[in-house]
């Protein structure tokens, strides 16, 4: 049996564009301007400082990432945003992420970014919109997490009674639906992209600002992951067992994965196997009715 993984990574990466290496096209971002404004956005406990010279853009970031703005000045990484005029945008283009000499190059029609983890610095060239930096943050967090045995997952997640539950599935499987049906005592972490981090022998789910159809950020809280449910809509509610290899295959299909990088593929594969060996994974067949939450425990 063979299955091509439906990863979010699209296509291979051009080594050069128009004969010019990407590293040379950095628009002088290494020179810092005197009037930088900053906001520290801490997702998954990883503070990232975003620097800009544009007050309106800063306010937009503060508003969009409101629950995730850190009062601390400490940051693990710094990103300088160089805002381009509105003409610079092609939202339909594929994203490409490549590593060269310890530097990650991230590119889509609407942004170009570079990040050097060892130097803890990066640059983002984009227009003044929230979607480009959101994509860059997602990519950066997938790369940070991969080194630590964690990942971002296409899944909604919520905390109830101190336990985190993840609900994974492709678009239309019911991630947002099950979030909407959650009882009042549940804390919604996200309805779209779950943050899974390994801490010692256990896995923690963190809230993320990465929203789906609910169009609102999750709560900035965390809890140990008790179970991952693979969503399927059906005629009645029920939890069904699932084989280990199928669980890992389904997990891999839903892990956010941007870079076409062999070392990273191996890390993600190992992370999926370790996670599946530690956290119960079940199939959750459900009808869109809040009683489904009675069997989630």
């Amino acid at each position: 049996m063979t299955t091509a993984l439906a990863t979010t990574e699209k296509g291979t990466v051009p080594g050069e564009i128009g004969g010019t290496p990407i590293a040379v096209r950095s628009h002088g971002l290494s020179f810092r301007r005197p009037n930088w404004l900053s906001v520290v956005i801490a997702i998954g406990g990883v503070p990232v400082r975003v620097n800009t010279t544009d007050q309106d853009f800063l306010e937009m970031l503060r508003s969009r990432y409101a629950g995730f703005v850190s009062a601390e000045s400490h940051a693990e990484f710094d990103f300088d945003v160089d805002l381009a005029p509105p003409a610079f945008s092609d939202p339909d283009a594929d994203v490409s992420v490549t590593r060269r000499s310890g530097r990650w190059c991230m590119e889509r029609g609407d942004f170009r970014a570079e990040w050097e983890p060892a130097a803890r610095r990066g640059t983002i060239h984009q227009t003044a919109n929230p979607y480009s930096i959101d994509a860059v943050l997602r990519i950066v967090h997938t790369l940070v997490l991969a080194k630590q045995g964690g990942f971002l997952l296409h899944a909604s997640s919520a905390i109830r009674n101190g336990k985190a539950f993840l609900f994974s599935g492709v678009s239309g499987a019911g991630k947002t639906t099950i979030s909407r049906l959650a009882p009042p005592d549940a804390t919604l972490l996200t309805d779209e992209i779950s943050y899974v981090r390994r801490e010692g022998n256990r896995y923690m789910a963190y809230g993320t600002p990465f929203a789906g159809e609910l169009a609102r950020a999750g709560e900035n809280q965390r809890a140990p992951i008790t179970a991952l449910f693979l969503l399927e809509k059906g005629l009645q509610n029920g939890i069904q067992p699932i084989g280990a290899t199928e669980a890992i295959q389904r997990l891999l299909r839903n892990i956010l994965f941007f870079a076409h990088d062999p070392e990273l593929v191996k890390l993600v594969f190992q992370s999926a196997c370790e996670f599946a060996g530690s956290v119960p994974i079940h199939r959750l067949v459900f009808v869109p009715d809040q009683r489904v939450w009675d069997i989630i425990r």
């Binding site: 063979t2 084989g243 290899t245 994965f257």
Partner: protein
Amino acid sequence: MAEKYISRSSAIAARMLGGEMMVMSAVDSTFFTLNEVASAIWQAADGRTPLSEIVAAKICQEFDVDRERAQRGADRFVDELSQHGILLVSGQPVEETDSSLSPESR
């Protein structure tokens, strides 16, 4: 027909679980689940043992199948995995490129 020697690529991640071998290409992220028979071929892919010998020793002796059918199945399996660069096929014996990735060492 010329003899084939098969070896595992180093650009893969693999893990045995519940009698099945999961193999993922690090190049194109293609994921394979190998059943018991395919896993036996995979584990015997040392680059030095001819495929026909693997079929005779590992498949025909341990599974209920005649030599010809087993060889046809093995050829198809090897062709498919080699198309994804997961198995490397040579007309000559080869040294394994990266023994650290063999399933036994994990």
